[in-house]
């Protein structure tokens, strides 16, 4: 955000906020640690708003739930902005000193009246107005979001819409106020920080524009760093389709199950000339691989670090001996380098971390000793005297322009409907999400039992279940323009008519991502998992329920 890929706040600030907005985030189930902090804030008097198509278990804690139509986030955010401007609630000092582009932004939100937002979102205009006024008037306010914002074809625009609200009200760069992107999977933050994104070196140093950083890496490694950004995941699949990508080395990921439109993903991965999978479980992607490299569990069988959504780097310690035949990821990668003719030695995790600290200024002060002593450190931490940053962008409040630095830009964005349009043939909107007891495609969490887990279902509103003649537990056929699956029905009172819900946790039982659309956001590369047009029918009497019948294609 404003040049660094991390949230501006610390978790503890949620406890001291006056107002929290969970926007596209079922934090109670997907981020239970963070939600504990939210609850502490609520118990101290913070008001909680939830913006979500479903009245989730998080939304059930909220003072007000805004049940928006899937994919109408920008209309809502722009209408809130317009109302804040019209009511004279803009933080004018902050906008004048610390931002650019206000006039163009104000003009861009002008068409988004409360009435238009009510039409687009379904949320009553009065409630939108109430959120606008409460957010702008709060002393300390945060907007927290998760995949409900980012798993859309216009994900980056959704994020810009929320950032604009923080800039408009000055809710950034101060203790208790900020923008909190809760990461979609464990250590996504750490992966990005380490440079596992196509356009950044470690520490968010731009691979194309930061020539000095690239030179530092080249000097340290004694090898040139390609001067162009690479492909993100969605582009990789397009490149496979075009025949430009013919070999893939996948570490700790199960794209056969986790990608949108898994029918396409499986076909493309299966058609590669060479596929290597390195994972701690023999997952479905490994079944397609030419080579499988069994790895240790990085959270308990190896040394290293992990980084949370509050930018906190923490130590991970080896607590268990790994099973026979598995190897530490570092060992595997270095052994491959050796066999390719480059001996990098046999460094420990700490030695590799210290090398990273010499190349990534934001991690420079984070020795293993300090990470232990301080219980983790939040980046940036430029030297060993620095305690880490509790919150980011305090500079925006500096009086001195030189200390204030580059202003934060408003980014006007426009509402766009989901790409997978509802139609007579596909009249229901399916949105996907997570449950507390499970993780992603279930490769890890499916290995243990828990009393709160229940199998996959197609969740339908009471109205839709009734009109379709489907009862609780009855198996239904769910079809999209890409394929069809069968799943038991769960009648879910948190859904309104026209809205359905499934998870991706149980692909062996129901391959949900057969249904989802793999159209992706050109700015972020994220696919639109959250908005699929489906229809639900009683299955044909001849359906057997076996795997083949569950994954059939529809000829749409």
């Amino acid at each position: 955000m404003f040049g660094a890929g991390g949230g501006t706040c610390s978790y503890q600030e949620a406890e001291d906020a006056d107002l929290l907005v969970l926007w596209g985030s079922n934090a109670r189930e997907a981020h239970p640690i963070f939600f504990h902090h939210v609850l502490k804030g609520v118990r101290r008097g913070a008001r909680l708003y939830a913006v979500d198509p479903r009245r989730t278990t998080s939304a059930q804690w909220a003072d007000a739930w805004l049940g928006i139509e899937v994919g109408s986030d920008i209309s809502l955010a722009n209408a809130i902005a317009r109302e804040i401007i019209a009511a004279g609630l803009v933080n004018e000092d902050f906008v004048r000193r610390a931002t650019t582009g206000f006039e163009a932004y104000a003009a861009s939100v002008e068409p988004y009246s409360l009435q238009r937002a009510e039409r687009d979102t379904g949320v009553p205009a009065d409630l939108i107005r109430r959120l606008a006024h409460d957010y702008a008037r709060a002393d300390r306010a945060q907007i927290c979001w998760t995949l409900g914002i980012t798993e859309h074809h216009n994900a980056a625009d959704n994020v810009f819409a929320l950032i604009n609200l923080a800039l408009l009200t000055g809710h950034v760069g101060r203790y208790g106020s900020g923008l909190v992107p809760l990461r979609g999977q464990n250590n996504v933050q750490g992966g990005g920080d380490m440079g596992a994104i196509p356009n950044k070196l470690t520490g968010f140093q731009d691979i194309e524009t930061d020539l000095a950083a690239r030179a530092r890496f080249e000097a340290a490694y004694g090898a040139p760093v390609p001067p162009r950004r690479g492909w993100h995941l969605s582009q990789m699949f397009d490149a496979m389709e075009a025949g430009e990508l013919t070999a893939c080395y996948i570490v700790g990921e199960n794209p056969v199950r986790s990608e949108a439109d898994t029918g396409r993903a499986s076909k493309l991965l299966g058609g590669l000339k060479h596929l290597v999978v390195q994972d701690m479980f023999r997952n479905d992607t490994a079944e397609l691989a030419d080579v499988v490299l069994p790895a240790t569990a990085t959270w308990c069988e190896a040394e290293g670090t992990v980084t949370s959504s509050e930018r906190r780097v923490q130590r991970v310690r080896k607590a268990l001996e790994p099973p026979p035949g598995t190897r530490d990821d570092i060992e595997i990668i270095f052994d491959i380098a050796r066999r390719l003719g480059t001996d990098w030695g046999r460094p420990s995790a700490e030695e590799l971390w210290n090398e990273l600290r010499t190349l990534s200024p934001m991690h420079a002060g984070m020795s293993y000793r300090r990470l232990e002593e301080l219980g983790g450190i939040q980046w940036p931490c430029p030297d060993e005297q620095h305690p880490g940053e509790l919150f980011l962008h305090a500079r925006l409040w500096e009086e001195d322009p030189a200390r204030r630095g580059a202003p934060a830009p408003f980014t006007p964005v426009e509402q766009e409907a989901p790409l997978d349009e509802l139609s007579e043939q596909f009249p229901l909107r399916l949105t996907t999400g997570r449950r507390l007891d499970s993780f992603n495609t279930g490769v890890q969490s499916g290995q243990y039992a828990t009393p709160i887990r229940r199998p996959e279902t197609i969740n339908l509103s009471p109205e839709d279940a009734s009109s379709l003649g489907l009862a609780e537990g009855e198996v239904a056929r769910v079809s999209s323009r890409r394929g069809s699956v069968q799943a038991p029905v769960h009648v879910d009172e948190t859904l309104r008519a026209g809205l359905a819900f499934m998870t991706l946790h149980f692909p062996e039982q129901v391959a949900t991502n057969v249904l989802t659309l793999d159209a992706w956001d050109p700015k972020s590369g994220t696919a639109e998992f959250k908005a699929t047009a489906i229809r639900v029918d009683k299955p044909a009497a001849t359906a057997t329920g076996d795997d083949e019948s569950q994954h059939e294609k529809v000829g749409a």
Partner: protein, 68 residues
């Protein structure tokens, strides 16, 4: 009085009436009223709902008095 958790068995009219005698009639589908389309886009609770927790026992007593 039977305690029934979950929505599988709906509350009887007598039970609803007993609850309403303490809390007032339900205002939306979320608090026991008829489920309307508007309920699908907005709900209120949080502090205002928790501020009524002291009414839990009076409600239970009202139901017990009515149903036995």
């Amino acid at each position: 009085m039977d305690l029934r958790f979950g929505a599988a068995v709906a509350a009887t009219d007598d039970e609803r009436s007993a609850v309403a005698s303490v809390l007032g009639p339900p205002e939306t589908g979320w608090d026991g009223g008829q489920r309307e389309a508007a309920d699908g886009h907005a709900a209120f609770g949080g502090h205002s709902a928790r501020a009524r927790r002291h009414l839990l026992l009076p409600v239970l007593h009202a139901v017990q008095d009515r149903i036995g």
